[in-house]
């Protein structure tokens, strides 16, 4: 383990910095709009917003190749967007329309797209980890040099599956990048109230997996750490564990009085907003001007407006089709 490892804090070149900023703003605005649509009754059910955590998905996924796989959680709209599932099909899925990436069957928590190797949001805490192991195992057995990035929250480390997966991934040297998004609260339960050992990297290290803590509010650090980890995983050294220390600015789901944390704590973390701090740094380096920022906002605004239009125009799956997709429609092999 390399506790306290320093990642680069130097901004990438202008083009790449603009791209990272653009991606974070896309996710932020998409989530803000989703919250509005939820309040308007357009999106139903459960909605878990990624606001505050954008740097993690944007930084980590920037380090992946298009061929690498992603397994995510129920707070995965951002990962899906950054990965390249279109805003249209994500928004349609949030609406439950059949034009959505999961045909409207899965909704907000179960975005899926094999074409971009996005193997699902997952609404069971820890449920995606064994599946990530299987994806990586298949790649290894079939001789493909691909990485599976598995995102999960710090709450998942309390599940037995986490430990089963850490052990096996290390034992078999599977190409898995474990991306723990530690936002400090498993719904309303603070990490220190649920874990006897709150140093998550120490847990991973005990399975002989190299583990680094990363400032999850700094997109540059997230990308740098992920790039180094991906390089190690791809070279066949086995899995890697990154603990992204981050914070969610909004409630766990849409309605949550947030009595488990203080307003002051939230305000403290908001000072480290991954988007505004990155903007400031870009300004200081003079690689971002107001016109460029306005341009990004405008582009993102129209992308999301189009996604809403697409979702609104989407169609409900006909009731007659309700028994479809339970069993395969292909003949046995």
């Amino acid at each position: 383990m390399a506790a306290g490892i320093e990642f680069t804090t130097a901004l990438p070149d202008k083009e790449h910095s603009l791209n990272l900023l653009h991606q974070m703003i896309r996710v932020r605005r998409f989530e803000e709009k989703s919250a509005e649509l939820y309040s308007a009754g357009k999106i139903r059910g459960f909605l878990h917003l990624y606001i505050g955590e954008e740097a993690v998905a944007v930084g980590a996924i920037a380090a992946l190749d298009p061929d690498d796989a992603i397994v995510a959680t129920y707070r995965e709209h951002g990962h899906a967007l950054v990965r390249g599932i279109s805003a249209n099909s994500i928004m349609a899925e949030l609406y439950g329309k059949q034009e959505g990436c999961s045909h409207g069957r899965g909704g907000s928590m179960h975005l899926f797209d094999a074409a971009t190797r996005f193997y699902g949001g997952n609404a069971i805490v820890g449920g995606g980890l064994p599946i990530a192991i299987g994806l990586a195992l298949a790649d290894k057995l079939q001789g493909r040099s691909r990485v599976t990035a598995c995102f999960f929250g710090e709450g998942a480390v309390a599940e037995g599956e986490f430990h089963e997966c850490m052990n096996l991934a290390a034992l078999w040297k599977l190409p898995v990048l474990f991306c723990c998004e530690n936002n400090l609260y498993a719904m309303g339960t603070a990490l220190k109230r649920s874990e006897s050992e709150v140093d998550l990297c120490l847990k991973a290290s005990s399975y002989e997996i190299p583990a680094w803590p990363v400032d999850g509010m700094d997109v540059v650090a997230c990308e740098d750490a992920a790039q180094k980890a991906v390089l190690a995983v791809r070279s066949g050294e086995g899995p890697f564990f990154l603990e992204f220390r981050t914070y969610r600015f909004r409630a766990h789901s849409m309605y949550d009085p947030q009595l488990y944390r203080t307003k002051e704590e939230v305000e403290e973390w908001k000072k480290r907003d991954p988007i505004s701090t990155f903007e400031d740094r870009m300004h200081q380096r003079k690689i971002l001007d107001d016109d460029e920022l306005a341009g990004i906002e405008k582009q993102v605004g129209s992308e999301i407006a189009e996604a809403i239009e697409f979702a609104e125009a989407g169609t409900w799956e006909p009731i007659e089709a309700l028994t479809r997709f339970v069993y395969s429609e292909r003949p046995a092999q």
Partner: protein, 326 residues
């Protein structure tokens, strides 16, 4: 070639792995040890450790890893060393495997086989004797099979491996070496979803599967000889989806139905069979649909208690006579 039930399982695995290189095995002690019951004996030598993979004792992970590999087009067969341990993988089977296709709007498939050695009668006590099939038969997206004969052990396993859905294959431990059959050398499968009449009859229908088929056939012979009763015996073979046509056909034919299974009475397959008959063949019935199952308790280690808890040939004979006299 004459072989035992367990040899039939072994030869199905061998042949399917030879036929399709995407098929591989994973489980606790399936490789070097050849399986706790020797079902996978010789596979490691034949196919190597990349296709016959020993795992830690991590049932949820074994099933979940199978799902991940299946989504990428492989055809994993995972073994639960005893069906009793399948409960550790319940989330992965019920929440993940069963919904893979549905959750993703048909854009992913999960061709996974979970082999689960089940059943009592071998003095295994509470955690090595269970018949947990009914936990799974109410989960859409899964298929559940329970072969009772050597032929079906082989044919249903091959069909399960070739199926594009997650299939749970319950193999009865008591049958492993207690039954033998001459099997064809040529490739064959047994269709999933099709029950089979094992003995024709007109007086009463006995519907069963898995470990109680042999006892049911023995009982049918006894009552035929001693009471002149012609009992029809239907072997369900697949528990999800149930072969409703075959169930209704035999119920309509004889008008009296006894369901026998080694799983417990309450919430068992027998209740579903009785409901199907009562809904769709009520006017053909000449008596209540009766069930003879394990008692609603746990399988005790104590041999006299185990005997008292489980169905057996004598109990089936009594149940047939009682229903025939109704």
């Amino acid at each position: 070639m004459e072989m035992t039930y367990i040899k039939a399982i072994n030869s199905a695995l061998m042949e399917e792995m030879r036929r399709d290189e995407n098929v591989f095995m994973m489980g606790e002690d399936v490789g070097e040890l050849g399986g706790a019951f020797k079902a996978t004996e010789g596979l490691l030598e034949a196919f190597g450790e990349e296709r016959v993979i020993d795992t830690p004792i991590s049932e949820a992970l074994i099933v979940g890893a199978g799902i991940g590999a299946a989504v990428l087009g492989m055809r994993p067969i995972v073994e639960m060393q005893f069906a009793d341990f399948i409960s550790c993988a319940f989330d992965q089977i019920v929440n993940m495997a069963a919904t893979t296709r549905y959750r993703h709007g048909g854009r992913a498939e999960c061709p996974l086989v979970v082999r689960a050695p089940s059943g009592a009668g071998i003095h295994g006590a509470l955690f090595h004797s269970q018949n947990p099939e009914a936990w799974f038969t109410r989960v859409p997206g899964l298929k559940v099979v329970a072969p009772a004969t050597v032929y079906d052990a082989k044919g249903l396993l091959k069909a399960a491996i070739r199926d594009n859905n997650p299939v749970i294959y319950f193999e009865h431990k008591r049958l492993y070496r207690s039954i033998k059959e001459d099997l064809p050398d040529a490739d064959f499968t047994v269709p999933i979803g099709a029950a089979e009449i094992r003995k024709e009859g007109t007086d009463l229908s006995l519907i069963t599967y898995g470990g109680t088929l042999g006892q049911s056939l023995d009982a049918a012979k006894i009552v035929e000889k001693e009471d002149g009763l012609a009992v029809e015996v239907l072997d369900l073979r697949t528990l999800l989806p149930l072969d409703r046509d075959a169930i209704l056909a035999t119920a309509r034919k004889t008008g009296k139905v006894l369901v026998v299974h080694e799983d417990r009475l309450t919430g068992g397959i027998g209740g579903e069979v009785a409901a199907i008959i009562s809904e769709h063949a009520f006017e053909f019935l000449d008596g209540p649909v009766r069930r003879l199952c394990a008692l609603d308790t746990h399988v005790a280690f104590s041999p006299p208690l185990e005997e008292a808890i489980l169905p057996n040939t004598n109990k089936i004979v009594d149940a047939i006579r009682s229903l025939a006299a109704y």
